[in-house]
């Protein structure tokens, strides 16, 4: 996986680059818009980490150019601007995620991984968290090397949770993803399904846990 980090603060750029290197990514660095354009012409990147306040202009202009030519490469904005209107402006322009400085390296790495997991990203047929693996093409699930043997609906639920691992999946989103618009699930049906999946994961010794946020939704996280 090849990433381009566009950041004009040399210390921060070096640190981010080193951390992403350690996480197993191939990383190029551009200190400004012109340099970034040159990099983008020479190589294809799987994701961009983009600072907004660059020496030779605003990162949003680069993002706008990318989206204007229908380049869907995932872009994570890394910026000191935290005003809500900045955030909305960045996401409206076509950014996929928005991280405000200062940040922790492991958070940045996991956000980049999440971007690469997205359905429209190049990869993502194999979803995994901890020892749990789900193949979105063959619809098979494993814990370690052992098949989990889930029902179709349990697999669908696990997929929805895995795609947003570490984040809350609202009930409504699960409802729609699992039952569609026309057959509304009773609240009970959802709870029973979650309970079954939780028990199967537990029985298989999986190192992940499904947390319930009553009134909000569910969250799949690696066990501590």
């Amino acid at each position: 996986m090849r990433l381009l980090v566009i950041e004009d603060e040399p210390n921060l750029a070096a640190l981010v680059r080193a951390a992403l290197d350690r996480a197993g990514f191939a990383v190029d660095h551009a200190a400004g818009l012109a340099e970034a354009d040159a990099c983008l012409r020479m190589a294809a990147y799987d994701a961009l980490v983009l600072d907004l306040g660059l020496g030779d202009g605003c990162g949003l202009t680069l993002l706008r150019r990318l989206r204007a030519r229908h380049d869907g490469v995932p872009v994570l904005i890394l910026t000191a601007r935290d005003a809500p209107e900045d955030r909305v402006g960045g996401l409206d322009t076509g950014a996929d995620d928005y991280v405000i400085k200062p940040f922790h390296m492991d958070e940045l790495v996991s956000r980049i991984r999440a971007l690469l997991r997205r359905p429209n990203a190049a990869l993502g047929v194999r979803l995994s968290l901890g020892t749990v693996v789900l193949d979105t093409v063959t619809r098979t699930t494993q814990v370690g090397s052992e098949p989990l043997g889930l029902s179709a609906r349990e697999t669908a639920l696990l997929e929805l949770l895995l795609r947003r691992a570490g984040r809350v999946v609202p009930r409504e989103a699960l409802d729609q993803g699992l039952y569609g618009m026309d057959s509304p699930a009773t609240p009970n049906a959802m709870e029973v399904l979650v309970h079954r999946l939780r028990k199967r994961l537990q029985d298989a010794g999986a190192d992940v846990a499904i947390h319930t946020l009553r009134g909000v939704g569910y969250l799949l996280a690696a066990a501590e």
């Binding site: 981010v16 390296m105 946020l213 009134g215």
Partner: protein, 468 residues
């Protein structure tokens, strides 16, 4: 919205209508007065000629007494008048020589002009003649066949009731003039009102434009075209004020943005360096440094938020679903709660309470309350977030609660409670209070039944209730 104390078009309509009525009344009064005067002078002439008529019929008897030969038509006039018309003939010593009616002498005598005067005289109203009598006195016969015996001839006529006469006159006048005066008046009022309303339309447009200007649209100006000369200076001055306001807001926004960049970039480098420290050498020091950096980052974030909230107006005009606000605030802290061993629960009404406000700011405020609850809630307890119509957000914990003495100061800047953990900057709750106030509402803390604290944000009723 300011309640209108008066409306130009209404005031104009009232005044025009009043002026019109006054003009009608004045015209009617003048006409009545002139008519009455004319009728009176006509009366006078008629009486005098009647007296002359009577005088012409007088002749002298051999003993010098007057003899009246009344032609039948004249006699009939006096006879059928039922006492309304009287005549008398006196001699120079005021002795009555002839009278149409014996009672007339007593009635008229006190008011006769003394000889040798002639002319008109009035008899005041009495029971028999409620409007009084008008009389004409002439002298007759000093020359010609009557020799040196001048007679005085009096003809009197009962006056009609003046009021009745005036009333009928006015009725006549009003009936004949109102039918065209009223439509003309109504038309005048209508034209006045329409002109006012039409002339003020640019003002209404300008007001509507002004109402749309919020902190996010500070670049907007009021339309300056099509304004009547009376309003142009006001709108021009408004636009000048808006321009100054926009420059000030821009400068402030730039400053907060630059401050954020200037503070956050070195913090990001610091955090990244600490994260990159080798984990095997001095892990405790690395962890402590990480916590320090995190605390510093939190403080900077809160101070920048506070600066933004205090220096820049918050746009609270957007539609907000408070249940969504709660879901977003809770979702952002779900992992934190799981690590802290605290269960986060949302209680929301079946129908989402739609409200007006600033969604991001409300998420931030509720998030701060949840952060606060999570730092105080013991492991294994529940932190409850409650959304209640019409517009209340509460966060309930089972922590130690807030002592009564600190409940008021806890929402002030750096007003940290005694139980506050070392990591806090003391701005989180001040931000909550500021955001609640920007929504016209308030934030407070109460003791929770069964132990713990209940933090409540009440948003005030918005000017316009959104549908639903």
């Amino acid at each position: 919205m300011i309640r209108a104390e008066w409306w130009l078009w209404r005031r104009l309509a009232w005044r025009q209508a009043a002026a019109l009525l006054l003009a009608i009344a004045l015209a009617a009064g003048t006409v009545a007065w002139r008519t009455v005067a004319t009728i009176r002078s006509l009366d006078d002439v008629a009486l005098q000629s009647q007296a002359r008529l009577v005088a012409d019929q007088l002749s002298a008897s051999p003993d010098g007494r007057p003899v009246l030969y009344m032609p039948p038509s004249l006699a009939a006039a006096f006879a059928t008048s039922d006492g309304e018309s009287l005549y008398m003939v006196f001699d120079g010593a005021n002795r009555v020589l002839l009278a149409s009616n014996p009672a007339a002498e007593a009635l008229l005598a006190p008011y006769l002009p003394p000889p040798p005067q002639t002319g008109l005289f009035r008899v005041p109203p009495s029971e028999r003649y409620p409007a009084g009598l008008l009389g004409a006195l002439i002298t007759a016969g000093p020359n010609g066949p009557l020799g040196a015996h001048p007679w005085r001839v009096v003809v009197a006529q009962a006056q009609e009731q003046q009021e009745a006469l005036l009333a009928s006159l006015l009725r006549e006048f009003l009936v004949s003039t109102l039918w065209f005066l009223l439509p003309i008046g109504a038309l005048t009022v209508l034209v006045g009102v329409l002109t006012t309303r039409h002339g003020l339309r640019p003002l209404r447009d300008a007001s509507a434009a002004a109402a749309r200007i919020g902190p996010q649209q500070a670049g907007m100006r009021l339309p300056e075209t099509g304004l009547p000369g009376e309003l142009a200076p006001l709108v021009g001055a408004m636009n000048g004020a808006l321009a100054r306001l926009e420059r000030a807001l821009d400068a402030q926004r730039r400053f907060v943005g630059e401050a954020a960049h200037a503070l956050r970039t070195p913090l990001a480098v610091l955090t990244a360096r600490i994260d990159a420290l080798p984990k095997d050498s001095a892990p405790d020091t690395a962890a402590a440094l990480g916590q320090d950096a995190d605390r510093l980052a939190r403080l900077v974030a809160q101070m920048l938020t506070m600066a933004r909230l205090e220096e820049l107006p918050l746009d609270v005009s957007g539609p907000v679903d408070l249940a969504e606000v709660a879901v977003e605030a809770i979702s952002a802290r779900a992992l934190l709660a799981i690590r802290a061993g605290v269960e986060l629960v949302l209680t929301r009404p079946d129908s989402p309470p739609a409200w007006q406000g600033n969604r991001d700011a409300l998420v931030l405020a509720l998030g701060n309350l949840i952060d606060n609850a999570l730092t105080h809630a013991p492991r294994g307890t529940v932190v409850e977030v409650v959304v209640r119509p019409p517009a209340r957000l509460s966060v309930l914990d089972r922590g130690p609660g807030v002592p009564e003495a600190e409940r008021a100061t806890i929402f002030t800047r750096f007003g940290r409670g005694r139980g506050a953990p070392a990591g806090g900057a003391g701005l989180g709750l001040a931000i909550v209070a500021r955001i609640a106030a920007a929504h016209g509402g308030s934030a407070r803390v109460e003791p929770r039944e069964g132990g713990g604290a209940a933090f409540v944000i009440d948003l005030a009723a918005p000017a316009i209730m959104p549908a639903g």
